[in-house]
Assembly symmetry: C2
Homo-oligomer: 522 residues x 2
């Protein structure tokens, strides 16, 4: 549902305005600030809608997701224009992001249809078994309940109102209450209205979806604490994610929080690759680093390599590339300020050399790329050098040898990704570090850059803490649906009372089942 855009009983009821990223100035009309009463109403409506929504058949739910995709497309260029203004991101990027957003909804529609997420398991009765007969047991996954989704600033479409968290929660059968990101209220309102049109057109209860907005943190806190909320999806800062985790754990009934928080995405340049194509790697690295003003969760913020001529050539080329990088509009002035503060802190770190800064920006809205280097020893001595600086900042850590490189890796916090640049001659080193990388990250790439995150079945956009709050999950790709499901077992229930997909006559419906431990694909 779209909560009425009237001022609410919140203390911050005076409305807030959408800010144009490039100027840092408010523009256009004011948006209502939703308060505690709006949160309670939206969550109660979500709870009231839950049993109806979760009972929808797979085709109805899939068609609903596709309808959302269609409605988002139908907004047309207004959506791109609004997102450009509010995020400062360029048209091509946002058009691509819209494609990803609707592609994601359509992927989940097909996931819903395929039904693997139902996790069907059937252990038929064994009435003659000794010493005791076995009862008939059947299991399926059911949705957790209403989900709170926090829109992210850096993907105003794909990780926001109709982003991956919303798509996967709706696919699972959970109503969604979005806390829209205050950096793009106009974009969010357009998308929320599209979702609400899809809800209505699909004949679903309005409570299946709600969109709440406001500039402060109180709104999100109230949402996570609402007793009707059963799980939380969040993409944002480490501080924000940790705060939500704490709130969720302190509830009378704790709930899972899927927070994607912090990652510097180590890139390992192995010796043979570095020798063969150091300069080319540097050019690609600078491209990945500065794309979208570096505002990616998977931005390559850390480069690890062993000292030598190859690394020298890489550093020289990367230094030149970053030095020529244009300043870029960042998402908000707050993010720009935090970026500059983080870059300054890195620059002042013991043993850290500033290799390059990009071209100067206009001060408060544009970010200036930054490249640093240090030694493994200095990096290991100061944990702060391994903290994420959200934006186009990266640090190259020079290691004396493979052992030192492994020490740096072993000392890292959990990450979303790790990248290996390697040639055939690097295979032995790569084999040696792979088990270590598996312990630290959710995705391991070879000879690519981490900033592209494919939306598919085999993607893991997740990883050990603090990359995320729950390494057992991914927030991108079809496995993301599993975050919002839990198993229920039915023992000796008469066929007519069983969920349709667990009845004997449902066999052959194309949904995989584990029957007595043997998997049948349909």
């Amino acid at each position: 549902m779209t909560v009425d855009a009237r001022p609410s009983d919140s203390v911050e009821s005076s409305g807030f305005r959408s800010v144009t990223a490039a100027t840092g100035q408010p523009e256009g009309g004011a948006f209502a600030v939703h308060g505690p009463a709006d949160v309670a109403a939206a969550c109660a409506a979500a709870e009231a809608a839950f049993d109806v929504y979760r009972a929808t058949d797979r085709e109805t739910r899939a068609a609903f997701l596709e309808r959302i995709a269609d409605e988002v497309v139908a907004i047309g260029d207004d959506l791109i224009v609004a997102a450009m203004r509010e995020s400062g991101l360029p048209r091509a990027r946002l058009e691509g992001e819209r494609g990803r957003t609707v592609g994601q909804l359509r992927l989940f529609a097909n996931v819903v249809r395929a039904g693997q997420w139902l996790g069907l398991r059937i252990d038929p009765a064994l009435p003659e078994r000794q010493p005791l007969p076995r009862p008939d047991l059947r299991m399926r996954m059911i949705p957790l309940g209403p989900v709170a989704v926090f829109g992210a600033s850096n993907f105003p479409l794909a990780f926001s109102t109709a982003g991956g968290d919303t798509a996967s929660a709706l696919a699972a059968g959970c109503p969604v209450v979005v806390k829209g990101h205050p950096a793009h209220p106009e974009t969010g309102a357009l998308v929320a209205a599209a979702i609400s049109r899809a809800v209505a057109a699909s004949g679903l209860p309005a409570g299946v979806f709600a969109h709440l907005v406001g500039p402060g943190n109180d709104l999100g806190a109230a949402l996570v604490q609402d007793p009707n909320i059963a799980a939380v999806g969040f993409t944002g800062s480490r501080g924000g994610g940790l705060a939500l985790m704490k709130l969720a754990q302190a509830r009378p009934v704790p709930i899972p929080v899927y927070a994607e928080m912090s990652s510097i995405n180590p890139v390992l340049l192995l010796p043979e690759a570095l020798k063969a194509r150091g300069a080319a790697l540097a050019a690609a690295y600078v491209g990945s680093l500065t794309m979208g003003a570096g505002q990616f969760c998977t931005n390559p913020g850390l480069v690890l390599a062993i000292d030598g001529e190859g690394l020298d050539a890489f550093v020289t080329a990367a230094t030149g590339g970053v030095g020529e990088a244009d300043a870029q509009v960042m998402l908000t002035t707050g993010i720009q300020a935090a970026y500059e503060k983080g870059a300054a802190a890195l620059a002042g770190g013991a043993g850290v050399e500033t290799l390059a800064r990009g071209k100067a920006g206009n001060g408060s809205t544009q970010g200036q790329a930054a490249l640093f280097q240090t030694t493994a020893e200095a990096f290991l001595a100061d944990k702060a050098l391994g903290h994420e600086v959200f934006g186009a900042s990266s640090i190259i850590v020079r290691c004396r040898d493979e052992a030192e490189l492994r020490s740096v890796l072993a000392g890292l916090e959990g990450q979303l990704t790790a990248t290996l640049h390697m040639d055939d001659g690097d295979a032995a080193v790569a084999s040696c570090v792979l088990p270590l990388l598996e312990r630290k990250v959710g995705r391991i790439l070879a000879n690519g850059w981490p900033t592209g995150v494919e939306v598919c079945h085999a993607m893991v956009h997740g990883g050990p803490f603090p990359a995320t709050s729950d390494a057992r999950t991914t927030s991108v790709g079809s496995l993301a649906i599993d975050r919002f499901l839990r198993p229920v077992s039915y023992q000796n229930l008469a066929g007519a009372l069983l969920p349709a997909e667990l009845r004997d006559d449902a066999r052959g419906d194309g949904v995989p089942r584990l029957v007595d431990g043997v998997l049948s694909a349909n």
Copy 2:
């Protein structure tokens, strides 16, 4: 590994003795009390063993689990005798529990072999895709790391040292550090030695398994806080589980806790069933309630029914049955004292009538069954009437009508199970309450009793908080392995560097794969 049974640097280093349940008196020699240094050593050894253990092929790991089963069987009657003495449970029950324990290990051996837990997903590269090519992405599940398992007192074999948590964690590829339950140190030591023999016979690093014992809570706290521990399995009290959850969340790196804590397992007697066989239901109910002195997580602690002659007949018969129930030795004097305190609190509750107490026991070691009744109104007015009393205590809640019955259900906390006793004529009522039950419990049974928990593929022994700390999981049945796994994605990794099961030449190995979203069963 079996940590040396020498006194350690713990402050509680004076040793502790095994207590005979029937007498409440210590008997036999003293057991070492493990302290902080033992915890650190065991967890460091587990971490050191992890990469070797997780790299074992499926057959090696499966054979290891089967070897543990064989070694447990090979202990022979000494194990049963020790467990009888320490737990007070009868021989037949413990022989059955041993069968379940080794059956569970063998089930997980076959689960490991079948490989579905690997969650293999392959999205092949699409080099020609527009606007951007798709990289090759492959996913598998890997184990989380060393797991701390807390043995439970009420199943000294099946939920303890070599119980379901240990079996599923080892199956996942995680080393295990058990905190043995101090109520059965002799039983625990026999089983731990059997596991360590299996570790050695399988050529695995000793750190794959450790067993720590001691009478206090410090040991468990240190274990959960150890930086090498990646997850926790626990079956026990609500207070104990909540304390571990808090410790785990407060770590620098929070870890998942799978705590099974508290459940009163509502049994609904629907009108037609009650009319047709109220007395027979009462006899079976008393049997389920008093079996094993009522010391089951799935004990039927709450009966819900609509007022009428059928319920009157049930109550009369159940009152008679409980009144004739013999007192039974409980697991520990502490549990017996807590049981009597809980039963006394229920007896003193506003609007609660004591229908029957079983035959008197010997005071400090035997529990005396207890049956209470109250009205829905009184039950709804006092949350404490819905708290678990661990032992053979149950309360019958008389509802005026179906609406009141639904109100009572809606007000319940999360539970492991809910049971429907019903005849054909009850189908409409059953259909109406099923969605509510699904929200509250992990397993729904018809016309049975919740105290039997089948170890199979479709079992859910779990449920919403506070039944467990994580409703997304089960602690019994083959799905329990998923608790200790997380996904890792490999992008464009050369075949030789990929895990064996993700290589192209592994196709046809019998392990299910999702290829481009299509499931193949092998």
